[in-house]
Amino acid sequence: MTSDQARTLIAERFPGAQTAGDAPMAVTVPVDAWARFARFAKETLGCWFFSFLTAVDWKDEGLEVVAKIDNVDERLSLLVKARLGPGASACPSLSGVYRGAIWMERECYDMFGIRFEGHPDLRRILLGDDWEGYPLLKSYPMDAPHPPFR
């Protein structure tokens, strides 16, 4: 499957999605289509390889969730993004589609505080349970000591 074919398929199934670039092709989908798109990408586009999931904090514009999935055999590479909207921190979970997302979403929750709905085990993974705040948010102050290591 070439990226042009993929682009057409995506435009058919997800009119709200925007595609840009090639290798990797950036696909921006609405947040309510996030999990649906992942399932579509896996089943229709053949993107079985789940590379990573993370987020970017665009300050006032809110959080953006980013996931990288590949169809290794046909060299189709997708960078899927979804804006959660200002102030929002809820996102559908991909753990039902890709099992590799379980740890990645835990890490994302740990660092950004994004609540992945439908995640089987959403708890902190790298930081301790008693950690306060979400360090990779731009609003997280770097020059002040933080609990519990005050």
């Binding site: 970017v56 990288k68 960078l79 708890r123 990779l136």
Partner: protein, 387 residues
Amino acid sequence: MSTAAPATRVDLEYTGSERLTMNMGPQHPSAHGVFRAILTLEGEQVVGIDTVIGYLHRCHEKLAETLTYAQYPSIASKTDYVAAMTSEFAYVRAAETIGKIEVPKRGQYLRVLAAELQRVASHLLWLGTWCLDMGGALGGGATIFLYCIRERELILDLFESLVGARLLYGFYQVGGVRYDLPPLWADTCRRTVDLIDQRIGEYERMLEDNPFFLARTQGVGVVSRELAQEVGISGPLVRGSGVAYDLRRTEPYSSYEDFDFRVPVEPGGDCFARYRVRMVEFRESLRIVRQVLDGLPEGPISSRPGLKSVAQVRIPKGEAYARVEGARGEVGCYLVADGSAKPYRMKWRGASFSNLAILPHVIPGHKVADVVAIMGSVDPVFGEVDR
């Protein structure tokens, strides 16, 4: 580092036997760093596992937002300290992709040279520690371990005369590499490569003619093709499960298309298959090193010679994901630049992090002794898992 009540613990059917919860780690001889596995045992059988990571978290992603593109590559080597070259490689590639910075041919070849030598060094450490896990510090495992360390030392010596450091290098820089080969280095390298090639054959015979080694590895920790694809493991792990996924082949970077090498694939999915994949990779990496030395073009090693000031690296607004095939799999760096001297956001895709996520799916049903064998065959480096 969360220890709250685990919900994703994969449990087998409860058969009514008395259960024992046992901590393996974080301070455990075969934890390969600091890793804690909370095992639920029924006799010797593991029926449930919860994994706790994060003991080595050093805020690399936050740190990268505070360091310039010229500064961070030498910090990047601290994520995967066993294969430091490859993590530097991923970061500089991401920066170069956004900035559309060309790398001269000689620079690309030198990058490949360092990355492949690093792969051999990393695999040597893996083979040694894995056998140490299975054989014990006071047994045959220690023998293999010391042999492997002896050979790894030779590669570290090569790196020392090339870079001046033995573990964390700072060899890569945006635009190329920092140092050219010193005189006579190529000859030493050729001799070392030949020696290691011969020694690897010796280890292979010592292990594969050993029925106990086969009994411990064959049929243990089987990762099916479907599971491997779903979890997103990469590197020797996924190739040991019958998936031919090697970034050097699927999306060649840094002139990898110039070299002739084979991507080993084993369908077995057990520890032995992963071992076989790595043993072939040793030889293929050594072959690539020989080809680089034979075909090393003349010319500059970097398009940004003597990179010293921040102003030399101007990265425009944009984003990129660059990945390289590290010793443990896909090492990737997702970089978002806002046009300033420092990245806006950086995400490490550590190969070990994703590879380690396979453990809860594989370990239940095995014996306690197999836990260390499986974990060793995954080859996690906790600097990369926790970042």
